[in-house]
């Protein structure tokens, strides 16, 4: 029989084992806080349930719309209406996911800053702190999305559809992402959040676009042809991504954005949060 290892029999944690770079911080955060990170993912999933159920229902509904039931003109009209309902629903039901994101972003910020966490308390505080600016920042791309989608819907041009997605992935998503990272770290005005978001986006263009593409991954699933099996596979993947992939991406985003904030803002203006979460290399 294997002998059970007694608790507290490990060697001392040394100050020198603490992270001194953002890369080390990433490993450190994952190694010591996997449970908290997974819990964050589960909260995102919990708040995504209405959206996922809605999308599954709409996808199955769409499966039933075939040329056997409608003539070509009717089918086109029904599909158009269906798409408008789906996109309107997505814009509305993404908001609860955004609410979870507000809480999760505070929790993960504290992790990256090596601060103690009282998960549910900090989750609630995150929502309270971020709700105003996250909502305002979300409203802007959401309205533009609905507007441009309506244009697409009436013109029914596939190319416009593609451009709409590209526009979102390379302009609005990155701007939104940078702005919400700024909201989580600094307290300023809405205009300054957008301005700073645009500044950081312009300074980190290729990586930010790559990040936006990676984070928008589930939205590309609209190009997958619908069938009973692809629906199951698609939503199973989205559920797994909610729990594991998005918290991972948020942490990566934090570590990257904090390094940029340090470089452009913190060193001179906010020394108290300069290299926060990293330890002094001279003590290593």
């Amino acid at each position: 029989m294997r002998k059970k290892k007694p608790l507290f029999s490990n060697p001392d944690y040394k100050y020198s084992s603490l992270p001194t770079t953002r890369k080390e911080a990433f490993k450190d955060v994952y190694h010591h806080n996997f449970k908290t990170i997974t819990l964050s993912g589960l909260m995102l999933l919990l708040f995504s349930i209405p959206l996922i159920i809605f999308l599954i229902m709409m996808d199955y509904g769409r499966l039933g719309m075939t040329s056997e039931k409608f003539n070509e003109e009717e089918l086109r009209a029904v599909l158009l209406l269906w798409d408008i309902i789906v996109n309107g629903g997505v814009v509305l039901l993404l908001y609860p996911v955004l609410v979870a994101l507000m809480g999760v972003m505070r929790v993960l910020k504290l992790l990256v800053w090596q601060e103690g966490i009282d998960f549910f308390y900090d989750f609630k505080v995150g929502i309270k702190e971020n709700i105003k600016y996250f909502s305002l920042l979300y409203l802007f791309p959401a309205l533009i999305f609905i507007g441009t989608y309506c244009v697409y819907a009436f013109l029914l041009n596939f190319l416009i559809g593609i451009w709409l997605i590209i526009l979102f992935v390379i302009i609005f998503v990155p701007l939104f992402i940078w702005s919400i990272y700024v909201v989580n770290v600094y307290q300023t005005t809405l205009w300054n959040y957008i301005k700073n978001g645009a500044f950081f986006y312009s300074r980190t263009l290729p990586l930010t676009i790559l990040f936006s593409i990676l984070i928008s991954f589930p939205f590309f699933s609209i190009f997958i042809p619908l069938s009973g099996i692809t629906i199951i596979v698609k939503y199973s993947l989205i559920i797994v991504m909610m729990v594991f992939y998005y918290p991972f991406m948020i942490i990566v985003g934090y570590l990257y954005s904090l390094s940029k904030f340090d470089l452009f803002i913190n060193k001179d203006n906010y020394p108290e949060i300069y290299r926060k979460g990293l330890y002094d290399i001279n003590k290593k």
Binding site: L7, F8, S9, D12, D118
Partner: protein, 239 residues
């Protein structure tokens, strides 16, 4: 508060055979507030029993009071006391911060205040860099410090330590006892520290209380203790 008074306090137990055993026998004395009061004595002398009377864990005869205020009617959670024994009771799957936070949550302390307290105590005990680490990954020394932080974080008036260094190696025991002393002195708190270890007692105590077979032998300053002619004290020093 100036004193913790014991007036004619007796505690009785029923042993396995059904006989009544006197653990503390009609003792009257006072612990001094804002000092480190160390209680020494052989096993079974009643040291732990005294602490448990203050915590409300045991029934006793007589009166225990904080200055003139009898503690018996005061609910335990309102006595502003913290208790720590030799067992390291940490939740292995929670991190250090969550472990230290737990007693404060039980007290329903405001989160911001609790957060500040944890950071202060963690800093004083040199464990601030461990706050996000899981406790099951800690060394014995670090776990002892975290356990101590759990006891100190409540910002009580009286801190009771029941042989906290009993299971530790001598170097670690010394380190922990000095941490206790530093904390109590720098925060002007009252400590009642039970120990077997005479060296530890003389190095941290303001006053040493010697118990033997449920009776108080005497109260000494560390200097008086090491030079005492009392037979019990002498035998403790020899042991």
């Amino acid at each position: 508060m100036e004193k913790i008074n014991f007036e004619h306090v007796s505690v009785y137990f029923e042993n396995e055979k059904g006989n009544i055993v006197t653990a503390v026998d009609d003792i009257s004395f006072s612990f001094i507030a804002h000092k480190i009061n160390v209680v020494v004595g052989y096993s079974g002398s009643g040291k732990t029993t005294l602490l448990k009377c203050i915590t409300g864990a045991l029934l006793y005869e007589g009166k225990i009071s904080f200055d003139d205020m009898d503690i018996e009617p005061i609910p335990v959670q309102k006595r502003r006391i913290s208790y720590m024994d030799q067992n390291i009771t940490l939740y292995p799957n929670a991190n250090v911060y969550e472990n230290i936070l737990f007693p404060l949550k039980a007290m329903k302390m405001e989160h911001d205040e609790a957060d500040q307290r944890i950071k202060e105590v963690a800093h004083q005990l040199g464990i601030d860099f461990l706050l996000t680490r899981k406790t099951k990954c800690l060394s014995m020394g670090q776990a002892s410090r975290v356990s101590l932080a759990k006891a100190l974080v409540k910002d009580s008036d009286i801190y009771l330590f029941d042989e906290i260094s009993k299971n530790l190696d001598p170097a670690l025991a010394k380190e922990i006892s000095y941490l206790v002393k530093d904390y109590l002195v720098s925060n002007n708190k009252t400590g009642i520290y039970v120990t077997h270890n005479i060296k530890e007692a003389t190095s941290i105590a303001d006053y040493i209380y010697v118990l033997n077979e449920g009776k108080l032998v005497g109260v000494f300053t560390p200097r008086e203790f090491v030079t005492s002619d009392n037979e019990i004290v002498k035998s403790l020093l020899v042991d």
